[in-house]
Each structure stands twice: as structure tokens, then as C-alpha cells.
Symmetry: C2
Subunit: 429 residues, 2 copies
């Protein structure tokens, strides 16, 4: 790790800089796969599944028999954990339901918002070594609560053409309508354009490698909304002399194991804590199965000693982390100062893993400083707030003249006329 003591504010820009990710170099490759899928549908998806996932597929849809097989393969312990996590995620996202109320902005003019679910959404769940069934819960649970009519999930099969059973169990628990064996760019294309098997959706959610991200960005230019741009996962821990060094080290390592590009950032006001965490990281690292990955990620991690709490929070806000753990005893006061972060974990017991899996908050969060402008996935991500308005005759009296005057001054005479024709019907001018 890089240990930096009392950096000046001028040095901050270097400390918080993320590695550049430029997926535009991939655009040519990704575009050609997308075009193939648009033109040839299922045939193209099957071709790329063979090429990239080495799976020969006859049908793309998961069958009821495969669902039942998955239920048998997943242990009762894991099933119970999935059900518990789903319950908490559902509870937190149900509490985000929007209550509409009408506002009379002036006499005779009523305006309101109504939250309406996006009819068709697509969830992408990557394959690979770590089967992210937790992400199935994080995306499908709010989609179901929002009332999305069609919830489509694509995930790549293994060489035997099988999908990880925990993904299928999580999909059933959370209420996914249709699961398909498709990964990578071909899955994103299939959900953006629709194929014979895979329905077109209006918004695509979920993580993926750089090809998947590039595909999501490309389809978002024309056809389909996406949840948010993404980069490597990140944690920032703010610690002081009251923090538990063992816990802090464990939290930093849990981020470091994600991948060699994971971002691990420690900010502390205590030189002694800095020393203790550094030692604990070494101790705990030795015992980890993914220690090579964690070690590489730690080599790029940054541990910063700052003068006081105010500086700690300013630096954290400048960094704008995906996950922020405030591991101090007076976390409540510091929490008030958070301006830029995806999800914030307060106190010594709130480890990032809690929110990654089962506390109820969403783990699909803005990385790569996107927290400056984006929030994580929540119930709103699956809804649109449509505005409605009703005017009575009195409403024309209230705003008619102002509307006509503004329209004339914008040189939009027909806009003015649409109001004036109503005013004259009511004898107003």
C-alpha cells in the first residue's frame, strides 16, 4: 500500500484519481457483435455462446426442469440465507414506494406525479468463477416491487451449458419472469433488440466486464436505458483511534479480493491506527484463498493520515467512494458530513459485506467517482415519475395571461394561441 501522511490539499487530486477506463477502444468489436445479434437474433446469440463460453446451446430459455434441478442442488443453508436476504431487501425497497399527492400550484391548477413501473426490464448477471446470485436479489427484488411486467434475466452458461443453481434459486425467490442462457455483449444485444427467444426490454441493469459495459453504453446511445456507468469496485474506510483495527483490515481486504483493479482507500486521523491496520492487513491476508488478487489490489491501495475529522470527511467527499465505512465511535456526527458516496456504513459492526448481501440496501452502486452525480439502484430505478396536470376554468384565469405572454416572447405564437383560444372562450384576456 501507499502510505501518505498529512498530504496537502493540492496533492489530493493525485490521491483520488481513478485508473482510466476507456472502453471506446472496444467499441468496434462490441458494435459488430451487437449488429450481428440485431440482424440474426438467437442464431447469433448461440454462435457467440459457442465462441466465448464454449457452450453449445439448443434452447436459450431455462426450463422448468432446470429450475427444479437447481432447487435440489442448492443447500438448505444457502436457500435460507437467500430467503433472509430477499426479505430484508424487499422490506427496504418496499419502504421506498412513492406516495402521490396533488399540488394546487395556484387556483384551478393541479399538478402531481405518479410512479409507474417500466414495463420490461433486463437484468444481466455475469458468470465466471464467482456466481453473483446476490446481484440477482439486488436487481430483481425492486423490479418486482415496482411492478415491472416482464423481468428478464440473462446469464452465461458454463461449458456444459448449465447455469449456476444459486442464480436460478435467487431468480425464483425474487420473481424473475424469464431466465436465459446468454452472456457478454450478445446478452446485452439480445435484451436491447429482442430475439426470437429473448424479449426486448426498455432498461438493462447489472454488472459486467469491460465488453459488457461497452455494450451497455452503446445500446444506451440509441435504444435502451441502462442503470449507470461502472468501473472497478471501491471502499473508503474512515477510522480514528476508537476504531477496531482488526475489523478495518478485514473490511479493506474484503474489497481487495474483488479484483486486482479494486480500489482500497483508508483515511485515518490516528497514526497508531494506521500502523495497527497495516499490521492486521498482513496477518489476515496470509489466510485468504484469493490472496494473490488481494495482494495486487493492496499494492495500489492508499492509506492516508490526515490532521482531523473535518479533513477526513473532505477527502472522502473528494474521493466520492462507492462504499464508505465510517468506523469511528462518533459516526453519527461524521455521517452528517457525507456529500458524495454510494452507500455508507456506520459504526464498527456495519461491515460492507452486510450491505453486499443481506442488510437490505442495494449493492449496485456508483463506482469510479460516479457518486458525484449518480446514486445506486433503488426502487426509483425501475419506475418513471409521470407528471399529470388538470386545469379548471379558474386555472386559465390564474396562468393564462402569463403563458400567452411567455410564449409570445419565445416567438412561439401557436403556443400562445392554444392558451388564448381558451381564454377567449371564457371571456378572459
Amino acid at each position: 500500500m501507499k502510505i501518505i501522511k498529512y498530504p496537502s490539499r493540492e496533492q489530493w487530486a493525485d490521491l483520488i484519481r481513478r485508473p482510466q477506463i476507456d472502453t471506446t477502444q472496444l467499441h468496434a468489436t462490441v458494435s459488430s457483435i451487437l449488429s450481428e445479434v440485431k440482424a440474426h437474433g438467437d442464431d447469433a446469440v448461440r454462435k457467440y455462446e459457442e465462441q466465448f463460453d464454449h457452450a453449445q446451446l439448443h434452447t436459450l430459455a431455462i426450463t422448468e426442469a432446470e429450475m427444479e434441478e437447481a432447487e435440489r442442488l442448492v443447500s438448505d443453508d444457502l436457500k435460507a440465507a437467500i430467503v433472509l436476504a430477499h426479505r430484508n431487501i424487499a422490506k427496504f425497497h418496499e419502504a421506498q414506494q412513492f406516495e402521490s399527492h396533488k399540488i394546487e400550484t395556484c387556483e384551478g391548477v393541479e399538478c402531481w406525479q405518479k410512479s409507474v413501473a417500466i414495463e420490461k426490464v433486463g437484468l444481466y448477471i455475469p458468470g465466471g468463477t464467482a456466481p453473483l446470485f446476490s446481484t440477482v436479489l439486488m436487481l430483481a427484488t425492486p423490479a418486482k416491487i415496482a411492478g415491472c411486467r416482464q423481468i428478464v434475466l440473462c446469464t452465461p452458461p458454463n461449458r456444459e451449458g448449465k447455469v449456476n443453481p444459486a442464480i436460478l434459486v435467487a431468480a425464483r425467490v425474487a420473481g424473475v419472469s424469464h431466465v436465459f442462457k446468454a452472456g457478454g455483449v450478445q446478452a446485452i444485444g439480445a435484451m436491447a433488440y429482442g430475439t426470437e427467444s429473448i424479449p426486448r426490454v426498455y432498461k438493462i441493469f447489472g454488472p459486467g466486464n469491460q465488453y459488457v459495459m461497452a455494450a451497455k453504453q452503446l445500446v444506451s446511445l440509441h435504444d435502451t436505458a441502462i442503470d449507470m456507468p461502472a468501473g472497478p469496485s471501491e471502499v473508503c474506510v474512515v477510522a480514528d483511534a476508537s476504531s477496531d483495527a482488526e475489523f478495518v483490515a478485514a473490511d479493506l481486504l474484503s474489497q481487495a479480493e474483488h479484483g486486482i483493479d479494486s480500489q482500497v482507500f483508508l483515511i485515518t486521523t490516528s497514526e497508531e491506527m494506521l500502523q495497527k491496520v497495516t499490521e492486521q492487513v498482513d496477518v489476515q491476508l496470509a489466510a485468504l484463498p484469493r490472496k494473490e488478487i488481494a495482494q495486487q489490489s493492496l499494492n495500489n491501495s492508499i492509506f492516508v493520515l490526515v490532521r482531523d475529522e473535518a479533513e477526513a470527511m473532505d477527502l472522502s467527499n473528494a474521493y466520492a467512494p462507492e462504499h464508505l465505512i465510517i468506523a469511528t465511535s462518533d459516526y453519527e456526527r461524521l455521517a452528517e458530513k457525507v456529500v458524495n458516496a454510494g452507500s455508507v456504513f456506520l459504526g464498527r459492526w456495519a461491515c460492507e459485506s452486510a450491505g453486499d448481501y443481506a442488510s437490505g440496501t442495494n449493492h449496485t452502486l456508483p463506482t469510479h467517482q460516479y457518486a458525484l452525480a449518480y446514486n445506486g439502484v433503488n426502487l426509483d430505478s425501475f419506475n418513471r415519475k409521470i407528471t399529470f396536470q388538470h386545469l379548471s376554468e379558474a386555472g386559465i384565469g390564474s396562468i393564462g395571461h402569463a403563458v400567452a405572454c411567455m410564449a409570445e416572447n419565445e416567438q412561439l405564437e401557436a403556443h400562445a394561441q392554444a392558451m388564448r383560444i381558451r381564454m377567449s372562450k371564457l371571456g378572459l384576456r
Copy 2:
């Protein structure tokens, strides 16, 4: 206009198809301007202002003297209209304030959302013949209510280096921090990267021509969030025998005058109403100053006669219009059936102009069928909902085992360990 009577559902896809807008052809040109602005800041902005707006600028920032001059130039009548519109827009968007409440998802686990304003936002207001001061109100008012610390506005000057005074008055009324003379791609680049004069912002809002749209899309791939993708403006009017043909025709024309690519769509259950509206359009068109534009747009407009109300609303939802006017007497019942639309106007008095200017709803809305997945600008557009969580010792007991079990099954051992280390401190397993 194209009049289509009782089309089959198979024909709908053709009726609702929008003109293709492919800004990717512009990407090379737009990219090179963006790169210049990134590299050369104010000098590049000044260079392109001279090239595209034929304005020689020394300073880009609007001065206090220019603000005062604008106040003198705008009539009292228009000022009063701007103040009235601002008051209604503020009232509607203030009512969208988010109230945070803590949710105990299970014993000892508390989760909540907090709405925090994006610190720096940029508003783009196009120049040209129609000075869109109304859009200043629509963007700056909610930005101010959200609490954005810096609200930057860029708008192109005319050949004399002047900005339309109504734009400046609206900016002052709505609380814009800084106004700059910059238009087009160079303005978007300046706000995305920052220059010596123009601050970098985290999210850019506002309409523009295809170059501006392409620039917004390109910066959104890397640096800066944007409000939404955009296409030509649209209205869909649903009318029956109870509608007022004069009003309906006026509403269709107010959309048609926007530009030759404006989309005008009438759905009616009454053949007589179809006839009457067609006649009224001709009568009213003759009196419009922008009749050439409106005529061209009307040539591409579509008037559809359908069998019944249910079919009318199904077709409207398939079209997913930016603006939907339900001009029937039983609008309340039909409003319940709206699934895809940006903003909905109910009853004979609620003309689109009302919402375009002064009723209080926002007029920055999803066009081009983006209403399938996006909503218009609202207070949330200027905020992020950051999630927070706190766990007590009891919380570790509630979810600790589930978290460790799920993490192990995702082969993320350090994630499991971060929870287990806490469980063992509490003597839990």
C-alpha cells in the same frame, strides 16, 4: 397529415415509429471540438464562439452590468409572467422534497436513504431565434431547491456578443450562480472539463441541436452525467366526441410550430371529431406566423381513428409520447390507463402550453419513445439518494450467518471473513 382509420395492431409499429436520429456520424466532429476545449480551455471556447456564433468575446462570464441591463430591457409584463411561472414551478418541485425515514429491516439493522444535492450542475440553454428563457426556469428552479451549490448556465451570444435579456432575468429569478456566453459543443465541453472561466460540473441538463446532443452523449460516456437523451418534441392528443375541436387543433399546431421534425399524433374514437379537427387545423394554420414550419411538420403528422377508448389508450402507450393530452370529458378514467408518457394534460382546459410555461410541472421531458424508460426532469434529477446503514451487535446476530454463508458461496472468502471476525468477537457462530 396522414389519416388512418381503424388500423390493425400489426400496423401500429409503423404508425408509432420515430424518425431515426443517429448522432454517431457527428461523433468525429464533436469529439475534436471537445478535445480542443479540454486542452485549451477558454481560448478554445472563444475560438469556436467566433467560428460558430460569429461573436468576438473577451470575457465569457456575464457581468453584473449586463445583468442590470437585461433587467431594464425586459418588459414588466414579461417579468411578472416569469415570476408567476417561477413561483408555480417552485411550488410543484418543493413538494417533491424527499423525507428520509429509517427502516429496521430486522433486529439491530437500520437502513435509510438520504437525498443529497449534486454539488455542481450545468444548464445548457440554446440560442437561436427562440430564446428559451422558460427552460432556464425549468432547470434552475429545481436545482436551487435541491440545494446544488454551484448552478452554471451556458448560452450562446448573438453576433454582438449579447445574450437574450429574458434568459438573464430568468436566470436571476431562479437563482443561477454563474452565466457564461458559450454555446454548442464548446459549452458542453467547457462544463464537462472546466476551463479557466467556466467551472467543471458533474451533471449537464438542457436541450440543444444534434451537435449538442452528441456532445452530451459523448461526455456522458466518461466524465459527466446528463439529464436524458433527446429527440424532436412530440404531442399525442386523445379526443372523443366530447372534445373541443378548436382546442384540439390549437394544441396540435402548438406542437407543429416547434420544428419541421416535430411529432404530432391524434388518436380519436370519433370520426366526426377527426373531420372537425382536420378542418380547424387548416383554419388556424393560416393565421400562424410560423405556418411554413407547422405545415411541414403537419405533413408528417398522423391522425388515427380507433374503435374505442381502450384501443386509444393502448395505442398512446405504445407511442409513449413526450406530451399526452387527454381531451375527453372522462379524462380521469383514461388517466388511470397511462403507462408510457412524459407529462399528461387532463381535460379541455389543460393545454400543453400551460405545462410548457407556468402550471408548475417540468417541460424537460423524454421524447422519441424514451418515455418507455425515462421520466422528465424533476427534483430527483438534481439529487442523489445515498443509502446509510447501521448495525448493532444484535444486527450481527440477525444477519451474520446469512452474510457469511452467501459470501462463501460466491467464493468471496474475505467478505465472509469481515463478518465472521465480528461474529467471533461477539461469541456468535
